[in-house]
Symmetry: C2
Subunit: 184 residues, 2 copies
Amino acid sequence: MDVKIRVATKGDCKDISRLIMDLAVHDKMSDQVKLSCDELQRDGFSQNPLFECLVAEIADENKSKEGFTIIGYALYFYIYCTWKGRSMYLEDLYVMPEFRGFGIGKSLLSNIAQVAKEKQCARLHLIVLNWNSHSLDFYTARGAQDLTVKEGWHLVHFDGQSLDHLANETQQIRKCVSGEDKVV
Amino acid sequence: MDVKIRVATKGDCKDISRLIMDLAVHDKMSDQVKLSCDELQRDGFSQNPLFECLVAEIADENKSKEGFTIIGYALYFYIYCTWKGRSMYLEDLYVMPEFRGFGIGKSLLSNIAQVAKEKQCARLHLIVLNWNSHSLDFYTARGAQDLTVKEGWHLVHFDGQSLDHLANETQQIRKCVSGEDKVV
């Protein structure tokens, strides 16, 4: 099967949105997707984009059951590690189930690694759900290290109310820690 | 004690480098720090900086045993979540041991959250070592969720040889998956 891996354009956002939702359904977390196609366009395809994306495209004659030709994507951005410097973070890598087994995921990942090297990234990070042994095996078979197992790193986050609460604490702390003008 | 939380400048890099090493020693991973002060200056304080940083500064009369007045820092950057959009990642938050217990870490964290809200970030992510119960407690007491425990997320990475190997696979895949001109 002919597969073209190419840089995503603004016109691909509808397909990328669809694939983001497919992946969230696969991860059993579809209720968490709050991002619209318009937001994705604005965030990735205007000045100072917040991410970059590659898509896997097949010829029209091989299109999916539902008629799609964009059948996979890899979305990534640059992060910073105070130990090693500029690094890359692979947010999503996904290939539609009916197109698996052709090496398309492998090809997306390898292309991502090539971009990482070109951009002088020391590391490529990603997160995987521990029950998703298929994905974990996919990465570790290619030399990835599970840093949660190896070193004990846990992913922690604030969102919604907890983030609001934290931000609002500044006012309170200003009164406690020091003079009002001393805390930004 | 008077503490000023302010945006870091290029001139703070020597102190930030020192604190990065202190934190790595605390995390028992000092051998992993490969970043020089010059690289930190270049990456954070030139055009298109790769990170932002706040520092905690005290008055000269309260300086540390070794004579330092920059006694804590929080280094962060922006990431992207395909479920929620723009988010913030807190790479490091550190206060020198002799200045703990004054609410300085709390103040740094709260200021970070405020920047996150101002920049329309939906989430604030960070990673913590599972044996570091002091840090884990510090964050969870403020409403953070441990997503490794709650949802099973594992941090995975490629670096060094495994990243090189991955990048070099493209050439090979080009021959297998499709015509040379079809894969970027």
